[in-house]
């Protein structure tokens, strides 16, 4: 149990650092909402090595922490919507056992961006920004691939080097 708590702590700390890094590295990308989503590497690794409950906790704690420190009330809402939607889809996708980590994280990335744009449509009360949907879907796919490949590598290394209570890594 204490091992698991420690692992969760490490995940939260890592996810938090990744959020911080991503916040610093503003690439001047001209479309709102396009990010690599480095913190999602941690979330997906947590999902595969520690189980769904821990993944949900890590994700929630990360969003709230990073949101309060780097963002505003509005940005917490956006990240929460994206994180909740993408994690829900990733949990379902993983449960079906039809996809690898990459597939799961691609779906997560796409759904994350779609949820955020839907929220933006509701908040801004304009459908004009749906214009960005194709770009954001493609960005979600790219981010999902990057996160998926990294997650896969981390996951298989972790399986070799430390004893995990649960491991769905290949």
């Amino acid at each position: 149990m204490s091992r698991k708590v420690a692992l969760c702590g490490i995940y939260v700390a890592l996810a938090f650092i990744f959020s911080y890094l991503e916040n610093m590295l503003s690439f001047g990308i001209s479309v709102p909402g396009v990010k690599i989503g480095l913190a999602n590497i941690v979330v997906i690794v947590a999902l595969y090595t520690s189980g769904k409950k821990d993944a949900v906790i890590v994700n929630l704690v990360r969003v709230v922490l990073a949101g309060f420190i780097f963002g505003s009330g509005m940005s917490i809402l956006y990240s929460l919507a994206g994180a909740a939607a993408s994690l829900t889809v990733m949990l379902i996708m993983k449960k079906t056992d039809l996809f690898s980590i990459k597939g799961v994280s691609i779906a997560g990335g796409v759904v994350h961006n779609m949820a955020q744009i839907l929220l933006a449509v509701c908040i801004l009360e304009t459908s004009g920004i749906m214009y960005y949907l194709p770009v954001l879907v493609i960005a979600g796919v790219v981010s999902g691939i990057v996160v998926g490949i990294s997650g896969e590598i981390v996951c298989s290394r972790m399986k070799k080097s430390i004893h995990l209570y649960k491991s769905d890594c290949e």
């Binding site: 479309v31 709102p32 691609i106």
Partner: protein
């Protein structure tokens, strides 16, 4: 499940998501009509409609101290200045085609190019 099957499923998923997005993007870029007017909305409410061919500087300030400067010049519209944190709206650059938008999420400012066929009466009726 076999990892080969998983890999195949991954590819199917990738294509199923990517293809429609790419197709829609291509169709959208082919269908780009020059716009005639610029619609500015703040917090979901219409702020103003401006002609794209008249040089104009629109300063949007609200009670919370937010400030955005929208500039219309040579048939283009761009966000000249904003005091938001990320400046994504400023980085978005020039837009001029119908249904292109500049969004400032933190300030809830949306600048959208419209066809310009809307008459004054329509605007008032809204």
């Amino acid at each position: 499940m076999e990892s080969v099957v998983r890999k195949r499923n991954d590819m199917i998923l990738l294509l199923a998501v990517l293809l429609p997005a790419v197709i829609i993007m291509i169709v959208m870029s082919l269908n780009k009509n020059a716009g005639g007017q610029v619609k500015v909305t703040v917090d979901g409410e219409l702020y103003g409609i401006y002609d794209l061919d008249k040089k104009k500087t629109i300063v949007i300030e609200n009670e919370k101290g937010f400030k955005n400067i929208v500039e219309i010049e040579n048939g283009y519209v761009y966000m000249k200045e904003a005091d938001c944190r990320d400046l994504i709206c400023v980085n978005q650059g020039n837009i001029s085609k119908k249904s292109e938008t500049i969004v400032c999420l933190p300030h809830k400012v949306v600048v959208e190019v419209i066809s310009g066929e809307e008459s004054e009466a329509d605007v008032i009726a809204k």
